[in-house]
């Protein structure tokens, strides 16, 4: 199955989409490019901390709202850490263009975990004390066992989960290196899961140590090998962040927060997403020198034999 086929088969208008990775680490960028190319309306996005994935979907909504739109976001954090705030988040929220429900990283991770466990809710201490419990569906109850207040959070079960991993087999068994983020929980909780991977390996190699399997095959509906599938974000053992490109992309959106023109952003989408067949064509636009440098930086940080 190609990524184009997987997106067309498993994503629908109005879906709640669970986004894997963490900020700009292992974001499902290739899958989001394909979603933007095909165009989906009234999406709900669910994630703990995300960056390029929602930024690309929101940017598409800012230039072609007839083609791509987000209705609602359930999140802990949308921003780019060292690379700055999210201009698209500011644009959409400050104009009242989307609904949202604020949670924390643990709240969202626990909500996916409840979904993954097949349970309707999960108790945590996270939202107690502050306003998150007042602006979300949190229920604070007195614990029936200790009598102390505890927060109950509704499970999150996205219609489709988007996950990028280092390695998988054709059945969907996945190996994740570096942080697991909340990918296994999202995959297990979602009705469908699309996995993109850097390396597609044989079933025998992938399952040689069964405890390495973070996401088991029954949770996965489609597996597509997409090298650089999280780029310009990072993927452990494969490539480090292309911060320059992230900053350049954000700089195209930023002027629109203050009412500036959408021309430059539109041109970016025309050139990099609408004007290409697939994600490989987008990656081809980067210089080999830069791709190699980002690989080299990552192998230095990992400090291990290839």
């Amino acid at each position: 199955m190609t990524l184009k086929e997987a997106v067309s088969r498993f994503v629908k208008n109005g879906d709640n989409v669970g986004i894997g990775g963490f900020v700009n680490l292992r974001q499902p960028v290739a899958t989001v490019h394909e979603m933007v190319r095909q165009g989906f309306k009234d999406l709900t996005l669910s994630f703990q901390s995300a960056a390029m994935a929602p930024e690309l979907l929101a940017g598409a909504m800012m230039v072609r709202p007839d083609h791509c739109s987000i209705k609602r976001i359930e999140l802990a954090y949308w921003g780019h850490e060292a690379y700055g705030l999210s201009p698209a988040w500011r644009y959409l929220a400050e104009r009242g263009m989307i609904e949202f429900e604020d949670w924390s990283n643990y709240n969202m991770s626990a909500r996916f975990k409840a979904g993954a466990m097949g349970l309707p809710f999960i108790p945590t201490r996270g939202p107690l004390g502050g306003d998150i419990k007042n602006t979300s569906r949190t229920k604070v109850i007195d614990c029936p066992f200790t009598g102390r207040p505890i927060a109950l959070l509704p499970a999150s079960n996205p219609n489709v989960g988007l996950i990028h991993v280092q390695a998988a087999d054709m059945y969907g068994n996945c190996i994740i290196r570096g942080t697991d983020a909340t990918c296994a929980e999202i995959a297990m909780a979602s009705a469908h899961t699309i996995v993109t991977c850097e390396q597609l390996l044989s079933h025998e190699v992938i399952t040689s140590n069964p405890k390495d399997i973070m996401i088991p095959f029954p949770a996965v509906d489609a597996v597509i090998q997409v090298p650089y599938g999280a780029y310009p974000g990072a993927c452990r053992r494969h490539y480090y962040f292309n911060g320059e490109h992230i900053r350049e992309f954000l700089a195209l959106i930023a002027p629109m927060v203050k009412g500036g023109s959408s021309d430059a952003l539109k041109a970016w989408y025309d050139e990099n997403i609408f004007g290409v067949e697939n994600f490989d064509d987008y990656i081809e636009k980067f210089s080999t020198k830069k791709l190699l440098a980002d690989q080299a930086a990552e192998s230095y940080h990992c400090e291990r034999l290839a």
Binding site: G21, F22, V23, N24, L25, Q48, S49, L75, A76, Y77, W78, G79, E81, A82, L85, S86, W89, R90, A93, E94, R95, G96, F100, D102, W103, S104, N105, Y106, N107, S109, K113, T124, R125, G126, P127, L128, G129, G130, D131, I132, N134, T135, V140, R148, P149, I150, A151, G178, T179, D180, A181, T182, A184, E185, A234, R236, F241, H301, C302, E303
Partner: protein, 266 residues
């Protein structure tokens, strides 16, 4: 130690943050300046400091330098334990984090922090004046770490009696046992570091109290830049300016690319 005469407001925050951290303690580190301060602490008086990053890594030596994200590969290399977000927050909720180290855009006198929105709350929640990134893991750290260290740039508009939104709860309304009654654990905000000084929260009232002034600041100048009445510790002292060596470490070893510590002159 030679005192530096050329350091920025962010650099003194980083030095102050590093000094507050204790060797061999577990610190749950938020993104930005807390990461810089934790790395400086490891390179100076606290080599045994055990950072936890919410994306999952615990105890990395950070030999490859400053992570630019709490999910950066540099946090994974040499870590003694690494799973995902649930595992990191579960160990915090279980009570294993001695410190949580977080930032915010707005703070009140009880150390409650806002990193969600500026504007009318609750009516304007869905259409804020300024939308901030959101809690991330800060509210979880605030609810469960043993003590929290806060960083907020000092600005009268950001030090308010009432916050637009309480993202990360501190001492709540300051009443005795407020945190426990709300269901939280840990002692709450321990220190606040700003661009003007270091503050604690007075034992009985839980109100923000000036502990140390940064060079060039006085109790009066700090009060004048604060939107509520500050308490003043009985023995306020001036925080020593960073040494030449500390500034060199920040600029050449900790954050040589100016990822979080900007080079703008003070």
């Amino acid at each position: 130690m030679t005192v530096s005469t050329d350091y920025t407001a962010q650099e003194i925050i980083v030095v102050a943050g590093a000094k507050i951290l204790e060797n061999n303690k577990i610190v749950f580190v938020g993104t930005g300046l807390p990461m810089v301060a934790s790395l400086l602490a490891k390179l100076t008086h606290a080599p045994g400091l055990i950072p936890v990053f919410e994306a999952g890594a615990m105890g990395p030596p950070l030999k490859h330098g400053l992570p630019i994200s709490v999910g950066d590969s540099k946090t994974g290399t040499g870590a003694s334990y690494m799973k995902g977000l649930n595992a990191a927050f579960e160990l915090t909720q279980r009570g294993f984090a001695d410190f949580g180290f977080i930032g915010g855009a707005e703070v009140d006198m009880y150390g409650n922090l806002n990193s969600t929105m500026m504007g009318d709350y609750p009516d304007g929640y869905q259409k804020p004046k300024v939308r901030l990134p959101g809690s991330g893991g800060a509210s979880d750290m605030a609810a469960s770490c043993e003590r929290t260290i806060l960083i907020v740039p000092h600005d009268k508009k950001k030090f308010n009696e009432k916050l637009s939104y309480i993202t990360s709860p501190g001492h709540l309304d300051g009443t005795p046992g407020a945190r426990y009654k709300a269901g939280m654990q840990g002692k709450g905000p321990y220190r606040l570091i700003t661009t003007k000084g270091i503050f604690d929260f007075e034992e009985k009232t839980k109100r923000m109290r000036i502990l140390h002034t940064f060079p060039g600041e006085t109790i009066e100048s700090i009060q004048a830049a604060t939107g509520f009445e500050l308490l003043v510790a009985p023995d306020v002292t001036q925080f020593a300016p960073p040494t030449v060596e500390e500034v060199r470490l920040i600029r050449e070893e900790v954050d040589p690319n100016g990822v979080f510590v900007k080079r703008a002159a003070k």
